[in-house]
Amino acid sequence: MYRYDDIDQRLVDERVQQFRDQTRRFLAGQLSDEEFKHLRLRNGLYLQRHAPMLRIAIPYGLLSTTQLRKLAHLARRYDRGYGHFSTRQNLQLNWPKVEDVPDMLAGLATVQMHAIQTSGNGVRNITTDHFAGVAADEIVDALVWCEIVRQWSTFNPEFSYLPRKFKIAINGAAADRAATWVHDIGLHAVRADDGPVEPGDPFPSPAVGFRVLVGGGLGRTPIIGHVIREFLPWRHLLTYLDAILRVYNRYGRRDNIHKARIKILVKERGPEAFDREVEEEWSHLKDGPATLVPEEIERVASRFTRPAYERLPAVDPGFERLRSSDKAFAAWVKRNVHPHKVPGYAAVTLSLKKTGIPPGDATADQMDAIADLADRYTFGELRVSHEQNLIFADVAQRDLDALWRELRPLGLATPNIGLITNIIACPGGDFCSLANARSIPVAEAIQRRFDDLDHVFDVGELDLNISGCMNACGHHHVGHIGILGVDKAGEEFYQIEIGGNQGETRPGAKAALGKVLGPSFSQGEVPDAIERLVRCYLDLRDSEEERFIDVVQRVGVEPFKAHLYAKTDQESRARGRQLAAA
């Protein structure tokens, strides 16, 4: 955890007071609905279909057990006993009363938490790789850079009334686990042999910097980001962000909310022209006071708590024995346990995707139980992933067995990370006033269908994402299979696309947007349709190593389309094979 200093704490406390006064003025009729709307949104408070929703910031997804217990308490006291972990690594509570929100924020402030800029037209929560700091393929610890950018973005006076929301993701490892290509700005830590290394640089040669992507995004106009700089030395990160944001703030469209994101500006100007404007702006800001210095990187890094790792053997014999003798344990290890940079340790995903539970939901009791487990098994910290699961980043191999046995009765050991049932879904029409269709029942129907099939056929890695409307909060464009809820004359229908990919989570398929296959399906037809696509994949794959997305990228969408819309199964399989061979 990053531990606040006095100033960090003071700013959060002052924000609570400010919002308390704004709420008071609103309730007293001194602020109009419209004026209060913009004030409450920059504090994560929505007023929607059934009741308000408060989105609490979990900066870059990192949580202490003290904080998780506070969230459980708030969920019990002000909500109906549960919370929803979102794709921005935040937590959403439904049903809090407007007049209670200042007290909720005051409670959060006591554990160094807040709801600052979780909505509204400013820079939102910075997101990152949920294995940052522990991944074996790490270039830099992205958490440190996320905190530096968090401070730069928090109450940034110039960039608080942008044309639209602004999302930044930072990835510090070789694999991209932060979906950086579909963010307003994506940053990849990179090393360059010929880059500058100055005396006192905290990063020894080769030099550390960032590849800067801009203009990616999902929503109504999904776009893969453009690289506008291959290597930005780390010292210049903040001045360069200032330059990008200033160009966007001045020239981004404000006439149409659907064309106001930076991706539209980059598209309309052209990436090269946009790049030139940023360079021109940056020439005035470069080497200014916001230029980072080694001491600041070290200061921020030193304010993070660090696990006191034991010296352990790289392989724990008891763990290996159980893995080879217990199939259920082995299945969980295969899917939910991940490599760690420290010998003898592993990272563990707690699946919030148990069939029948809305993806990302956790009850207050579960949160308390998870906090207890995190204290006992993983140094009192955990992370929220953008795939809406929870991560224990530092578990000793020898404890995996005991942890697994404790997670199972809590419903948190579903061995489905990376599999089709690890569905990303937005809250959908059950909760959200923007949605055209429900997403949670569809997710559940697909999970039920594949609970067994997945096991029988060993379908392997497959991202399935569901959004209840074209705002794409469920990231359907980057699901290997994406499902979009649409409204047809008042009825809920679902459009299916395939071939989307969030990024190079492992070397191979690059970030890509899915292609719509054809006419949409009724809710009841969706599980059959998904099963057809999966069966088509099973027919076409070279080996179990070849993932669904790899097959789509190899053969294209046509065989899948033919299979999906064929009148009979037999016909569709034959046709699918023909097309794949062509």
Partner: protein, 170 residues
């Protein structure tokens, strides 16, 4: 007359903001704030009036257009047609930081209490509040936050540099 805050105090406003038709006659005497187009079109005529002249910029207007004139302008205003239109925040920083404008920088239009602090941080020192605002109460907004992470016109040195300076002197 809108309510005016200048240098964090309630102030009497001697300036007349000329809006609408740019061809509209400029009064022969008194302090006026004219649209950019009027300024660019009739600098000479404005100079011989009996009264001072300021210029106001619309959100989309580039402050670079005034770069050569800022030494002789006592006042530049930036308009906010809606408080949610944040372009003026960048305009202000450019006027102060890039073009070194030293005169009065005034926010006009949909200027509300809850924007004052950030407007001030971007370089505004005068605020013509929207008519319905309680100017006296709004003064408190400048103290909503007592510290800031980023550099601004009010405090050019970002917090991280000041933290380090304080740490090394201890």
């Amino acid at each position: 007359m809108p309510k005016l805050i200048r240098n964090r105090e309630l102030a009497v406003d001697s300036w007349l903001l000329l809006e609408g038709d740019p061809a509209k006659a400029v009064p022969p005497a008194g302090d006026v704030i004219v649209p950019l187009a009027v300024w660019l079109g009739s600098r000479a005529a404005l100079a011989v009036r009996d009264g001072r002249t300021g210029v106001w910029l619309a959100p989309q207007e580039d402050p670079a257009a005034l770069a050569g004139d800022l030494d002789r302008l006592p006042l530049v205003a930036v308009s906010f047609p809606q408080f949610t239109d944040g372009r003026g925040f960048s305009t202000a920083r450019l006027l102060r930081e890039r073009y070194r404008f030293k005169g009065e920088l005034r926010a006009v239009g949909d200027v509300l209490r809850d924007q004052l602090l950030f407007l001030g941080r971007c370089g505004f020192d005068a605020f013509a509040l929207r008519d319905d605002q309680d100017a006296e109460a709004a003064l408190a907004a400048f103290d909503d936050f007592t510290e800031a992470y980023q550099g601004g016109v009010d405090q050019p040195v970002p917090l991280f540099r000041r933290r380090l300076a304080a740490g090394s002197s201890r």
